[in-house]
């Protein structure tokens, strides 16, 4: 094997042709690369992106359909989803049902049907998505800020500071969180902002524990010692060295956190404790539908509220599932050890 000289023809051609040059691979580009090959995670990300965009565009979509989230139409309560009949109409299988439904709804296509007040479920789901996703995102940001700060401080300083913080965390987590949330929300009757605060303030303990554990590990590494030996201050070491080293954990944790927060928010709304009506959230829509579980069509005997019971829950499940899958995918992608195995 010969060692290529700097002026060797091979190197000259390499330098001349940008096509042949390989970009330097950093930790993040490698992670992105392995993430791109992870089909499940990519599907989850795509689903979540679509949900987010649809939620953001909710007012425009509602305008396009021609019905607001709280527009009632008592004459058209419990209309079944228009989607199926529409497809059958367009494919020529059933030319009557869809136009009849349109006539009943005043020309408005209720793609996912209407609820007991004749409100459009599709539009309400989109608006509910804004509330549910928005609250979960904001609360997750809060849990991350609190968790990372407290966890880093506890892990970095150790000693009494750590003891005190850990005592507080261990105390707080010995009360099942959902009970605390129920008590707080039942008594405070929150609006979206206070609900976000409650979820965030009661949700950071796990993150702090994770970060603390990692900081303990990082703190003992040589580069921290090196930074200290050249006179770096604590704050600089924390922000420049310790926190960036926790970033993979923070990112993975964030995805799973958002999912759990959506679940918590929906559970509270389902119990009637979340954001108050008429604002739609996925959980509160299910709460409404819950009372309609026995409702049947007097003629056909079919369950009238099936679409109201199934779709919001399906949406919660799919969204949370996506976030958990993204968390898992990110964990694999961001774990340098995994790469050696593959």
């Amino acid at each position: 094997m010969t060692i290529a000289q700097a002026d060797s023809p091979a190197l000259t051609t390499l330098a001349a042709d940008p096509q042949l040059q390989r970009k330097p691979r950093t930790y993040w580009s490698m992670a992105l690369h392995s993430l791109r090959r992870d089909l499940v995670t990519m599907i989850a990300i795509a689903f979540l992106a679509v949900m987010t965009v649809l939620s953001l565009l909710a007012p425009a979509i509602a305008n396009g359909i021609g019905v607001g989230p709280n527009d009632t139409n008592p004459d058209n309560a419990f209309q079944q989803p228009y989607l199926g009949p529409y497809v059958q109409w367009r494919t020529g299988q059933d030319p009557t049902t869809a136009p009849l439904m349109l006539g009943k709804s005043g020309g408005v296509p209720h793609w996912l049907g209407t609820d007991q007040l004749g409100r459009d479920q599709f539009v309400r789901l989109l608006y509910g998505g804004r509330v549910s996703l928005g609250i979960a995102l904001a609360a997750a940001a809060l849990t991350l800020i609190l968790g990372v700060t407290v966890g880093t401080v506890a892990g970095f300083f150790g000693g009494v500071v750590d003891d005190l913080i850990m005592w507080f965390i261990n105390t707080s987590v010995s009360i099942p969180g959902i009970y605390l949330l129920i008590i707080v929300t039942a008594m405070f009757k929150p609006n979206p902002i206070t609900l976000t605060l409650f979820l965030g303030l009661l949700g950071w303990f796990g993150t702090a524990r994770l970060i603390r554990g990692n900081v303990f590990k990082v703190r003992a590494l040589d580069f921290v010692l090196a930074a200290r030996s050249v006179g770096s201050r604590n704050a600089r070491i924390m922000f420049q060295h310790v926190i960036p080293n926790s970033l993979p954990i923070i990112i993975v944790n964030a995805a799973i956190d958002i999912g759990s927060l959506i679940l918590a928010e929906s559970a509270l709304s389902f119990l009637g404790l979340g954001v108050q009506p008429p604002t739609a959230t996925w959980g509160s829509m299910l709460n409404r539908a819950r009372n309609l579980i026995f409702l049947r069509d007097p003629e056909t005997g079919a369950n009238l509220a099936l679409h109201l019971l199934s779709v919001p829950g399906l949406l919660i499940t799919a969204t949370v599932l996506s976030l958990y899958l993204i968390g898992d995918g990110l964990r694999d992608a961001l774990d340098p050890m995994m790469k050696n195995i593959r």
């Binding site: 010995s174 969180g177 605390l180 129920i182 008594m187 405070f188 119990l271 819950r290 976030l323």
Partner: protein, 354 residues
């Protein structure tokens, strides 16, 4: 061992003190008023409400209320023995402090959780009344999650990267993401309403004779226990899969294989025993999960347990009941964690409990 248990029990004391402070601070800083909710009747005058409030001590500084909740001793400015002296409360006026001390014989330090504002029952009686239902549901759910989760996890490790393994892993993630309230609704709709196989809620069929009917009880238990068990199944199957795969990489398993032990025997005799040991550590979180899930499951299935009681107490602003329930749940959580640590030490001789 005994020393370890005692030390852990002592460690639980500051935790419980912390829990009591946090719970108390939350409850007493909340807006709203238990009196106003109970006396919604417009005929009740403002003065009556004030008197009620005073009798319950709701007009006092929160620190004084906290002390009274802990010890059962209430401090009152001035000579007000006559106003607060009752059959169950003895009061005495200390002149040089210009304060009346009232002792109602309660206080959580003396094991008395106080009296419910909503039902006038002792809180402890309410908990005892509701506990069996939650216990029954929780134990059933825990058993289901162990009996389903552990075999699923082990088998999916045995058949790593097979279709079975893939589906178990998918099920575990989905099981975590499924909102229990929605799963419960769907199961009620399908098995209760559409098929009519199982009851849609409650703990038993109400009958005049009130006879104990095990079949009826079991039929009522199936759906709630299943819903409550789902996240546990997910937890245990994931846990057992990882642990089994971990054990299978160890040298003694390689040794067993090398000397020609049959594959089945390697998995289920050599590996399983050691893989089951860390399961004890998952028991604490599982108990915690069952307690947390109970409130939702009990609400959907109208199960007359602790979770539903806490929920309605919070809505009624029944402070003593809410606080009592929180203390009780924290105690259960702490005990669950302790139990799981002790069991771990018992089954794994390498673990030194010290």
């Amino acid at each position: 061992m005994a020393r370890y248990v005692i030390r852990r029990l002592l460690q639980a004391v500051p935790t419980l003190v912390g829990v009591s402070v946090i719970a108390f601070a939350l409850v007493y800083n909340s807006p709203g008023d238990p009196i106003l909710i109970r006396t919604f009747d417009p005929n009740i005058t403002q003065e009556t409400r004030e008197t009620l409030r005073r009798q319950l001590g709701l007009d006092q500084h929160w620190a004084l209320q906290y002390v009274s909740w802990l010890t059962g001793v209430t401090l009152r400015g001035g000579a007000v023995v006559a106003e607060f002296e009752r059959s169950d409360t003895s009061c005495s006026f200390v002149a040089w402090l210009n304060t009346t001390f009232c002792d109602n014989g309660g206080g959580i330090l003396r094991g008395n959780l106080g009296t419910s504002i909503a039902t006038n029952q002792p809180v402890w009686d309410r908990i005892v009344e509701r506990m069996p239902a939650t216990l029954q549901l929780g134990v059933a759910a825990l058993l289901v999650s162990l009996l389903a989760g552990v075999p699923l996890g082990v088998l999916s490790a045995v058949r790593q990267r097979s279709l079975f393994d893939g589906s178990v892993r998918v099920l575990a993630v989905v099981g975590n993401a499924l909102p229990s309230f929605w799963l419960g609704l769907m199961l009620i709709l399908f098995f209760g309403v559409v098929l009519g196989w199982l009851p849609t809620g409650g703990m038993r069929t109400v009958s005049l004779t009130n006879e104990f009917d095990p079949v009826d009880r079991a039929r009522h238990l199936v759906l709630p226990a299943f819903v409550l068990a789902v996240s546990g199944v997910a937890l245990f199957s994931r846990f057992m899969r990882t642990e089994t795969l971990e054990v299978i990489r160890t040298d003694y398993i390689r040794m067993a294989r090398a000397k020609g032990v049959a594959a089945r025997r390697v998995w289920f005799v050599h590996a399983l025993g050691n893989a089951l040991i860390p399961l004890m550590t998952a028991l604490g979180p599982a108990i915690f999960g069952v307690l947390s899930g109970a409130v939702i499951v009990e609400t959907i299935f109208s199960w007359p347990g602790m979770g539903r009681m806490t929920f309605s107490a919070a809505i009624q602003r029944d402070y003593p009941t809410v606080l009592g329930a929180v203390m009780f749940f924290s105690l259960l959580t702490i005990m669950g964690n302790l139990l799981s640590d002790i069991l771990y030490g018992v089954v794994d001789p390498r673990v030194r409990l010290s």
